[in-house]
């Protein structure tokens, strides 16, 4: 090991490694066990630290930052309660494959395991929810763990990593600034070579009469939008995306059939039933999309993924290719025939016309769908949109279209209420010149509403849209449809005055409840680069359609028109 350099403290080294790595922003919250690190951070001129109001806010900000920039998101917490507050965010990042480095303080090594003040075994707690984690036992190990952690977070299928950093290791002196040997296998961070038989894979695609591309979040991580467009256009293959894949293919493209799955468009779900070949690009046959044994059962199924563990995990496939999606597509496209498919594309165009996204717009009340259409028109293509979880999330996925990847930030895998506001803040830090809109519900927004303070403190122009139905809307929807309208604990009798709450943080706000107010409100909302809260009152009984009931398949989809026919719209 190179011992020539002067010794520095572990904390100093960690800060220098972050700087060398190019990290210029971290989100965090201090505490006793991480103080030596914060002291070094104080001296750094290259790293800006964003002080949040809750560690969960810090990690979701890091997620929003990472997803919208493609860079590593970094968050810091102290030991014990600070560290455990990261658990939801780590799980979220694991399920949605977001590259996050979490650095947590830990009690001194001689106190570990003694139930010391603010001690939690965060290493043990986070084993199942990180891609890699380590308890750093000596300052000489920092460099190696740092290198391994960052490589693993961003390599292959990205994900969260955690380094647990005891207080005495932070103050211990070391001269080991670079690992002479990494302990983990390169397969965990290097791009794998293409695995599988390209020729037979291409042949099956070329044989298809009614092919469909099914694009997931992996396409965004692989930065494969260009190749997907090329493949779709060359073979005239319609494209549907998952919730996580939104933006990987332009939502306005003629070949786009929008999102599939539980609340996907009717035409996407019908396309799944009608296609004779389906090609999964970096998606995972998630249960909100695919029912094993019934998903595209009449089609030849093919899958390209960087994670071999996703092959045949829930749905069995006939053809598979392993590798980085961008590289695989580059190799595949020359082998794919150029074909016009007037019948198949025409058939889907007719489906789009006959089964559009629908809602009842006949009253003066504001319908969230119509509102989002307007928001889309006013901010077209430019905004980064984050959401929370619930009906508003699904409406946003349906009615706001994206031309580009990394503009849609949502908690897909874990469905984390409380994700939207901090994710938007993180995205705004990463994209100061873009409009960033958080679409939330009156329930979700209250899960991390304390981060309004972070917006105010750093004067970040995050736009917060709250659809207020005085209900946990999505819960209510399920109770209405599947529990005979027993609205057990889904109605709020009490919401704060969100506009006044904003004012308390010097954030301007407005509340509207009539359709006629929409245009002015949107102008106010988007007019400049200042934070705004727009509270939109919507009817509690408004529902998200189409809907495939949980555990059912594409065949069991309920459309808006079905409910109108049954007299229960």
């Amino acid at each position: 090991m190179p011992k020539t350099e002067a010794k520095i403290s572990g904390a100093r080294l960690m800060v220098e490694l972050l700087e060398e790595y190019g990290v210029d922003i971290v989100f965090g919250y201090p505490g006793g066990a991480i103080l030596p690190f914060y002291d070094e951070l104080y001296k750094s001129t290259k790293i800006k630290h964003i002080l949040v109001r809750h560690e969960q806010g810090a990690i979701h900000m890091a997620e929003g930052y990472a997803r919208s920039t493609g860079k590593l998101g970094v968050c810091i917490a102290t030991s014990g309660p600070g560290a455990t507050n990261l658990v939801t965010g780590l799980t979220d990042a694991k399920l949605d494959s977001v590259p996050i480095l979490a650095i947590t303080g830990q009690v001194a090594t001689n106190a570990i395991g003694t139930d010391a003040f603010q001690e939690a075994d965060i290493y043990g707690i986070t084993i199942p929810i990180t891609k890699y984690n380590a308890l750093i036992k000596s300052a000489d190990e920092i460099a190696r763990h740092f290198q391994e952690a960052t490589l693993v977070a961003l390599g292959g299928r990205p994900g969260p990593v955690l380094l647990d950093f005891p207080k005495d290791v932070q103050t211990e002196l070391t001269s080991v600034r670079k690992a002479d040997k990494l302990k983990i296998d390169p397969r965990h961070y290097q791009k794998p070579p293409i695995g599988g038989d390209l020729d037979s894979f291409a042949a099956a695609l070329n044989k298809a009469k009614r092919p469909l591309l099914y694009v997931g979040g992996g396409a965004i991580n692989a930065n494969a939008s260009k190749e997907i467009k090329e493949l779709a256009e060359k073979g005239n293959i319609p494209v549907t995306t998952t919730l996580m894949g939104i933006g990987a293919f332009p939502g306005t493209h003629q070949l786009s059939v929008g999102m599939l799955g539980m609340h996907g468009t009717a035409y996407a779900n019908k396309a799944v039933l009608e296609c004779d070949y389906i090609l999964n690009l970096g998606a995972r046959f998630d249960d909100r999309v695919a029912k094993p044994g019934e998903f595209a059962e009449n089609a030849v199924r093919a899958h390209i993924d960087i994670d071999t563990a996703e092959f045949n995990k829930r749905v069995s496939v006939d053809y598979l290719l392993h590798g980085d999606l961008k590289e695989v597509l580059k190799a595949l496209i020359p082998k794919v025939n150029k074909v016009d498919r007037p019948d198949w594309v025409g058939f889907l165009d007719t489906l789009k016309k006959n089964h559009p996204l629908e809602f009842d717009d006949s009253t003066d009340t504001i319908k969230p769908q119509g509102f989002l259409q307007k928001l889309y028109e006013k901010s077209k293509g430019k905004a980064i949109v984050s959401t929370d979880v619930g009906q508003h999330q699904m409406w946003a996925a349906q009615y706001y279209l994206f031309e580009e990847a990394n503009r849609w930030l949502t908690s897909g895998g874990l469905g984390t209420m409380g994700y939207g506001l901090p994710a938007a803040i993180g995205a705004k830090f990463g994209n100061p010149n873009k409009t960033v809109i958080c679409v939330s519900g009156d329930g979700s927004i209250q899960m991390n509403i304390q981060e309004l303070a972070t917006i105010a403190m750093y004067k970040k122009g995050v736009k917060i849209l709250i659809f207020n139905n005085n209900f946990l809307g999505m819960v209510r929807q399920w109770q209405e449809l599947f529990y005979e309208e027993r609205f057990s604990e889904s109605e709020w009798n009490y919401n704060p005055d969100f506009v006044k709450l904003g004012e308390a943080y010097s954030i301007k706000g407005l509340r509207i409840s009539n359709k006629s107010e929409i245009d002015n409100a949107l102008e106010f909302f988007l007019e400049d680069d200042e934070a705004r809260i727009l509270e939109v009152m919507i009817p509690a009984e408004e529902k998200v359609f189409p809907m495939i009931p949980a555990g059912k398949s594409q065949k069991d989809m309920i459309e808006f028109s079905d409910t109108v026919r049954a007299g229960k719209k």
């Binding site: 290493y123 043990g124 199942p128 891609k131 308890l135 983990i184 965990h188 994670d307 563990a309 045949n312």
Partner: protein
Amino acid sequence: MKHILKILVNNHPGVMSHVSGLFTRRSYNIDSIAVGVTQDPEISNMVIVVKGDDSVVEQVKRQLLKLPDVIEVEDLAYHDCISRELVLVVVKVEDSNRTEIISICEVFQAKIADLTKTTMTIEFSGNTRQVEHFLEMMQKYGIQEIARTGQIALKYRST
């Protein structure tokens, strides 16, 4: 069907919980698990016996390979590996059946590790089938306690 997975892992604390945690989290049932260090002190060999059809075991293998501390996973089929399990069993003995038990132990090449007026502690090692068979033979004398190590295994070599 039973599969014997031979898993080479980095030998440091926490790896065991990473691996076993993966099994519980995905509700794969572990029949037995045995761990020991290899000729390289930095590397341990874990032998895990799991039940499941081929596709389930394939999933297990792929999930295991995603763990940074897992170096190699091999699915050893029963017919091409030597597997052993050690069992210690305490049986009740009476004057009338003591010699009978001892002669059964001779047949099985089991060792008598301890003897009291009323009990006998027997040590036996063999593959799982032999261990099951031996325990079955002991059943009728009244088994008081059992300790089993779980299986270890190595592939047969071809010269």
